[in-house]
């Protein structure tokens, strides 16, 4: 087979000739049909999941907004009695938590799920059931969390949940557990979505869409998802520790037994500060898409903006301690964070200048609704940024810390930086689903919101400087606080009317017209999401030569519609999507992807049930739900992954023949597993940090003198178990590479007990020596490591049995080996982590003694 002349080059003829075979489109329609009626929840099409996802995020925005209105009503005049002290605490905690965790992050993820496939011109992202799972888990878990408010059980300690306030002695009820388990669970959903987004952006771009031609929204979402991968593990780990402390009295944060509440603050803000940028980056990506369209010119400084996005992603991790200025951290350490705070303003400034320059060089900008929101964004965000610089100055922060000045700053940044771009984006992209939203309602909403927000939050700077602390349910008269507060409250209601306009507009005018080809390209935009689309996305997958393909080739829409680009039909008779290389976007294979199913819906419900039942302490029911979730996940994997080579290879156009199945490091499954292991590794890094930090604050010894420690044979046994199981898997991999599938079953059945033995020996060693997790933070850290390792052993246990069953069913062989590879990667990781844990809990303390 001689390779044809590069079919991706602009000079090559269009990949597929006319006329197209009879029935090609009908077949696509049939395969990608949306399930209707009672089967609708099984839907996996990204456009439907995306729209449901955005809608749910907006629902939470409105719910949290209503809480804010009640709070503002309470604060309108001094000494008001609508909310008592306790209820006010629950309100602001729930408001902040919902806005941050159930609205802001999910809304951005939702926009990604909805827009990315269209923007990349992929039929769908590689794991459609994963994003559907993320959505259902989020919906169920989120509603349950909100419901806690009606029973007076909502968390009441502020959205960052500082211990010791959240420790058992001060928060004996289950309010804090609602936060810990409810939010911890939402994070899992966010991570699931992030994996889909990362792999999708890197591997599902249209042929020829090199990194350099990728729309900036995709860059932003890539950084966004990568940040979730590295930031969310910190909060997951922190919640695990706090929950272990609350449930079993393991003293991680209790100073009388060697714990330290600062540990929570470190872990929380290592997540919490990047969180602000996690919210902001996708919004910036949206702005970078909308402004060029409205100015009818490519964005000025595309490369600089891409660089700024990547740099922001990194630098924002260097800022966590700037929320802890007042907690007695060494001066020099604080200066590192101040430096990072200033460094991060460089990329932000770069983006602001790129947007302004684009508006300046663009042709006459029409002041339509999306543009208005963009201008509002720039105005409010820059103002918020200025107060941010003030807050970043250390001495000023000591003054403003915990006053309404901070409340004002935080809302300017969040509303300016995220809500305005999001609303602009809704108006901008609504036509890709069906038709335009109302221009009139849009304008009303903008001006009401813009006025209302400034009216609400500008006076708060003043009340803050006059000394009004945050998180108080009322204030005395005669301190000059009456006027600012009354104006704030009026402003909040003005803004609420603005939000109501958006909601009414969406209800009246938003339509999903799948099959109708979308609402055309009303803004004459240049990127691929404006191609006519259907349930199967674009009719054929365009060959891309630049950043604004629709501007560069005015006939592209027509060519794509005629089916003259890649993969105009189906080659396997199933749902499929083209997988391309990560940098150059050269087609590598056609991946078969799963269709509608109940499996992932049940899995999501089971996971949600597990966490909610744990919260209300019905342990047996929780375990039942957990088992349901595991079974449903296995059913989902069994029916929806690793289809094997349904045929040898297929031509997708332009003489390009690619396989329809691929195992090994180029497969999307491998990539997803690697991303998952990055998440996992980051959790483990947090575990290392936990040990290191607690060692540091326990100068009397780590372990403290007199701690019972196991005999050395136990860790040695354990190390042998881990090593043995890893070696066996490595051998099985080699044998499979040589075509000997018969080794899989014996290898797995031997390696599994070895791994379990490795874990068991370590656990037994500590337990039999008499070490108990409740005695001291050293012991609880040791058991935290065992807890985490035990979880991995349990997962490997399930995976190994699943792999064995697949093998017995004849679904694993030297070619069809994606399942084997994924299990192997996770298993090797678990064994390595086990060994690292042994070093951490046995060798390191020994060496330090």
């Amino acid at each position: 087979m001689t390779p044809p002349a590069d079919p991706l080059s602009p000079d090559a003829p269009l990949p597929n000739p006319l006329p197209r075979p009879e029935g090609e489109v009908e077949k696509l329609k049939e395969i990608w049909k949306t399930p209707f009626g009672w089967r609708f929840p099984t839907v996996v099409n990204n456009n439907w999941i995306g729209v449901l996802y955005v809608g749910t995020a907006l629902l939470f925005f409105v719910l949290a907004g209503i809480l804010a209105l009640v709070m503002r009503l309470q604060l309108a005049v001094p000494g008001n009695a609508i909310l008592d002290h306790e209820t006010y605490n629950q309100f602001f905690t729930t408001h902040g938590t919902i806005m941050m965790f159930l609205f802001a992050v999910p809304a951005m993820e939702a926009m990604g799920v909805y827009l990315l496939p269209a923007m990349l011109a992929a039929r769908d992202l590689p794991f459609p059931r994963l994003s559907a799972y993320a959505y259902w888990a989020y919906l169920i878990g989120g509603l349950f969390f909100f419901g806690s408010l009606f029973f007076g059980l909502a968390p009441n300690t502020g959205w960052y949940m500082y211990p010791p306030l959240t420790s058992k002695p001060y928060s004996p009820g289950i309010n804090a557990d609602f936060w810990l388990l409810g939010i911890g669970f939402i994070e899992i959903s966010a991570i699931a979505g992030a994996i889909e987004i990362i792999v999708g952006i890197l591997r599902n771009r249209a042929p020829g869409m090199t990194l350099a031609r990728m729309p900036l929204f995709c860059w932003a979402m890539l950084v966004f998802a990568a940040m979730i991968v590295f930031a969310f593990p910190a909060i997951i780990w922190a919640t695990i520790l706090l929950e272990l402390e609350r449930a079993f009295d393991w003293p991680f944060f209790l100073p009388d037994r060697g714990g330290d509440p600062l540990l929570w603050q470190h872990l929380f803000w290592f997540f919490g500060h990047p969180e602000v940028y996690i919210i902001f980056l996708p919004a910036a990506g949206m702005v970078s898409m909308i402004i060029p369209t409205m100015a009818r010119t490519p964005l000025v400084g595309y490369g600089l903006v891409a660089m700024a996005l990547v740099a922001t992603g990194f630098l924002s991790f260097g800022l966590w301690v700037h929320h802890m200025y007042t907690t007695g951290i060494p001066q020099l350490s604080l200066s590192f964070f101040s430096s990072a705070s200033f460094a991060v303003t460089v990329p932000t400034g770069v983006q602001v200048f790129a947007w302004l320059a684009t508006l300046a060089v663009g042709r006459r900008v029409t002041l339509n609704v999306p543009t208005l929101y963009m201008l509002g964004f720039l105005f409010i965000f820059v103002l918020g940024g200025l107060t941010g610089v003030m807050v970043a100055v250390v001495p000023f922060d000591w003054q403003a810390h915990d006053t309404y000045f901070i409340v004002a700053h935080l809302h300017y940044v969040l509303i300016g930086g995220m809500v305005f771009p999001l609303l602009g984006a809704l108006y901008y992209w609504a036509p890709t689903a069906g038709r335009k939203l109302s221009d009139r309602l849009g304008r009303w909403s903008f001006w009401l919101l813009f006025g209302g927000i400034n009216l609400t939050f500008f006076p708060m700077h003043l009340s803050g400087l006059r000394g009004m602390p945050r998180r108080v349910y009322t204030y005395p008269s005669g301190m000059g606080l009456e006027w600012p507060n009354l104006i704030s409250s009026i402003g909040a209601f003005v803004a609420a009317v603005g939000v109501a306009c958006v909601v009414v507009d969406l209800l009246r005018n938003f339509r999903m017209e799948t099959g109708g080809g979308g609402g055309g390209n009303p803004w004459s935009a240049g990127t691929l999401e404006w191609l006519p689309n259907d349930t199967y996305a674009a009719r054929s997958i365009p060959r891309v030569h630049g950043r604004e393909p629709l501007w560069e080739n005015p006939r592209l829409t027509e060519e794509v519609e005629q089916g003259r680009h890649f993969l105009p039909g189906t080659v396997t008779g199933r749902r499929e999507t083209i997988v391309t290389s990560p940098v150059a976007a050269v087609p590598q294979y056609v991946q078969v992807i799963p269709g509608p199913s109940w499996a992932h819906v049940v899995a999501a419900a089971g996971t949600a049930g597990l966490f909610t039942m744990l919260t209300i302490q019905l342990v047996w029911l929780a375990l039942a739900f957990g088992a349901l979730a595991v079974l449903a996940t296995l059913w989902w994997l069994w029916t929806g992954t690793d289809y094997g080579p349904l045929r040898d290879d297929a031509e997708i156009g332009g003489g390009l023949r690619v396989p329809v199945y691929l195992a090994g490091p180029d497969s999307t499954a491998w990539w997803a597993m690697i991303v998952l292991l990055l998440v996992d590794g980051t959790v483990f890094a947090c575990l290392l940090f936990t040990h290191g930090f607690l060692w540091l604050v326990n100068p009397e010894g780590w372990p403290p003198p007199g701690t019972p420690l196991p005999h050395a044979v136990w860790p040695l046994f354990s190390a042998m178990g881990y090593t043995g199981s890893a070696v066996l898997l490595w051998l099985a991999d080699r044998a499979l590479g040589h075509g000997r599938a018969g080794v899989i079953l014996p290898a797995v059945l031997l390696a599994l007990p070895l791994l379990l033995l490795g874990f068991g020996a370590d656990l037994w060693g500590y337990w039999s020596a008499g070490l108990r997790p409740t005695t001291h933070s050293f012991a609880s850290s040791v058991y935290a490591n065992l807890f985490w390792q035990g979880l991995h052993a349990a997962i490997v246990f399930v995976m190994a049995l699943y792999l064995a069953a697949r093998r017995l069913a004849g679904m694993v062989d030297p070619v069809r080996r994606v399942t084997f590879d994924c299990v192997r990667l996770f298993w090797l990781y678990a064994a390595t982590q086990g060994l690292a844990g042994l070093v951490l809990t046995h060798l390191v303390p020994h060496a330090l003694r």
């Binding site: 740099a311 991790f317 020099l332 590192f336 990072a340 460094a343």
Partner: protein, 120 residues
């Protein structure tokens, strides 16, 4: 043009990875030394913390310099590609831009050690 490779993406973020490691190290050094009361120790005639922080900073800058130089070489050798800003040049350019910003950030982290009393 390399078809499969992920390497250009790794190279592109390399500068920021150096920044992150540097940040972790200097923060760790300061935190540990101050907590354990080594703030006034002297090492080889130099105050301990500033010496270590400056050494780490110099080392990090060397790494970034190396990233810049090797990217610059690739820029030369691939200049023949006709893709211009659109092609492999872009990732090389990105590598350079990110590395330069990282160098700035590293420098910014290192300098305060000359101005601030470490453990106050």
């Amino acid at each position: 043009m390399e078809v499969r490779g992920f390497a250009p993406i790794k190279a592109a973020v390399a500068g920021m990875v150096v920044w992150a490691v540097h940040f972790g190290i200097v923060y760790g050094i300061t935190g540990i030394a101050c907590e354990r009361g080594y703030g006034t120790r002297i090492l080889l005639g130099q105050p301990l913390i500033p010496a270590l922080v400056l050494a780490a900073t110099a080392l990090a800058l060397l790494f970034v310099g190396w990233i810049v130089v090797s990217a610059y070489r690739r820029l030369d050798s691939e200049l023949s590609g006709e893709d211009g800003e659109d092609g492999p040049q872009f990732t090389v350019w990105l590598t350079l831009a990110i590395a330069l910003l990282s160098a700035l950030a590293i420098l910014w982290e290192g300098i305060p050690v000359l101005l601030v009393h470490p453990c106050a």
